[in-house]
Amino acid sequence: MSYKAKFKVWRGEGGEGKLEDFTVEVNEGEVVLDIIHRLQATQAPDLAVRWNCKAGKCGSCSMEINGKPRLGCMTRMSTFEEDETITVTPMRTFPVIKDLVTDVSYNYQKAREVPSFTPPSGVKPGEYRMKQVDVERSQEFRKCIECFMCNNVCHVIRDHEENKTNFSGPRFLMRIAELDMHPYDVADRQDAAQEEHGLGYCNITKCCTEVCPEHIKITDNALIPMKERVVDRKYDPLVWLGNKIFKRSSSNSK
């Protein structure tokens, strides 16, 4: 069954712009991205939106729908009332290129700052032998589709642009946790997580977990375990003493 829905869509180049009103047809089974495409086809041919798979797996169509970070392709129109006005804006944390398309290069910059997987020097590719229980914890984090909605919703940078320099956001702190938990990674991640990537900024208010379309438990399974590892390294005198007495030092010995 079709009906006419009221939409407010952010239009503008760069940060300047405004919400424009549209009335547009909605059909049964459609998602918000379908409606944005209908607007492009019928009323606003120059409306810019980034999209690709329409299946919730590419992470391209991240936007804010009625103020909540959502994937446009995974937000069903049936979740709204027919007389409800639906507001669609670009992700607020990143600079706008045009309309709903943001410049997410902050995330690529932060990704480059995380040193890649570092195996022990004596082990060559093909020689890694790991048990499933040792790797399955970090496999959860590999479900990430890099929609960057966790970084977008994180108030540390969403409400404080100045923190972007020192804070990598939940996406890349999760990447650091993934590597730190990896049985074959020997790089020292814990000091860097706290000092270079700003783990201490996180006040574990769990918005990253709430918006994750892959339902990754970012806070409980990555950020808090990483905070506890940092406590081991920097703030717990008993662990420090134990490491001295039992000569534990490298992550590989754990």
């Binding site: 108030h155 409400d159 938990m181 996180c202 506890e228 406590v231």
Partner: protein
């Protein structure tokens, strides 16, 4: 519309949305309810410290256990008859131990989320702009002290065991008493909350990278992880159970509740 180049300063701007949030749901409801829930615990805690009706044989109010004072702990309330705090101390016995369970909850990862959101509005809800001009997180004093959570966890384990001992003792002495079973329910919830702690999860095996080398610790971690997934409901349930059990014992001690199987 003004055309800009990729290098133009305007291209470095976020969308200039002038409102704190565009959310249309009742995002304020959860922080509001949390605010009143946590405030009720604080108000009750202050009252419980002032109130002296902490013991009626065989029940001891959880807020006052272990009772360590020689003067202000009634006979029978002291743990194994042990009173390490001498005659000089004449204040409420609850004051002596308040810092341990209080500190455990104050530094708990779940409670941090709840009070950062509901009291400090940092942020009040997801995608709702916080009112503060500056944010430094848990990197500086005093919030860097949240990192001592695991030490409060060690203390909470001891307190939890003592509350379980109190409850078992009450059941042994008064198996048909409603209070005995209220104390048992409280002890179960308190200990479940304590064991579901993120620091507990880390200590059991979370800090390891090779679970396969430590099968027993891995099994413990798996168990704690299941409990940990319920940390939030356990935090609330144990908070209300400890308040309820404490109030019940005090009302019995005051004679306000006086039916035969109280």
């Amino acid at each position: 519309m003004t055309q800009t180049t990729p290098e133009a300063p305007v291209r470095r701007q976020r969308a200039q949305v002038k409102v704190r949030t565009l959310r249309t749901d009742r995002w304020w409801l959860v922080p509001l309810v949390t605010f009143f829930g946590l405030s009720s615990f604080l108000v009750y805690g202050v009252w419980a410290i002032i109130d002296n009706s902490i013991f009626v044989d065989p029940y001891i109010a959880p807020f006052a256990s272990p009772c360590l004072a020689a003067v202000t702990c009634p006979e029978g309330a002291q743990l194994f008859g042990w009173a390490p705090i001498g005659d000089w101390y004449t204040l409420s016995p609850g004051l002596l131990i308040l810092a341990l369970p209080g500190g455990f909850r104050l530094t708990c990862y779940y409670y941090r989320k709840s009070y950062y959101r509901s009291f400090w509005l940092s942020p009040p809800a997801c995608a709702v702009q916080e009112p503060h001009g500056k944010y430094t997180g848990e990197r500086r004093f005093p919030l860097i002290m949240q990192n001592i959570h695991r030490y409060f966890f060690y203390a909470a384990i001891v307190i939890g065991l003592i509350l379980a001992y109190d409850a078992v003792l009450a059941v042994v002495h008064k198996p048909l008493g409603l209070g005995s079973w209220i104390l048992i329910a409280n002890a179960v919830l308190i200990n479940a909350y304590t064991l579901s702690c993120h620091s507990c999860r880390h200590i059991t095996a979370g800090r390891l990278n090779h679970f396969s080398r430590h099968p027993l610790r891995y099994r413990a971690w798996t168990f704690v992880s299941k409990l940990n997934a319920k940390h939030q409901p356990l935090a609330w349930a144990s908070m209300f159970s400890v308040m309820g059990a404490d109030l019940y014992v005090r009302l019995v001690a005051k004679g306000i509740i006086a039916f035969p199987y109280a």
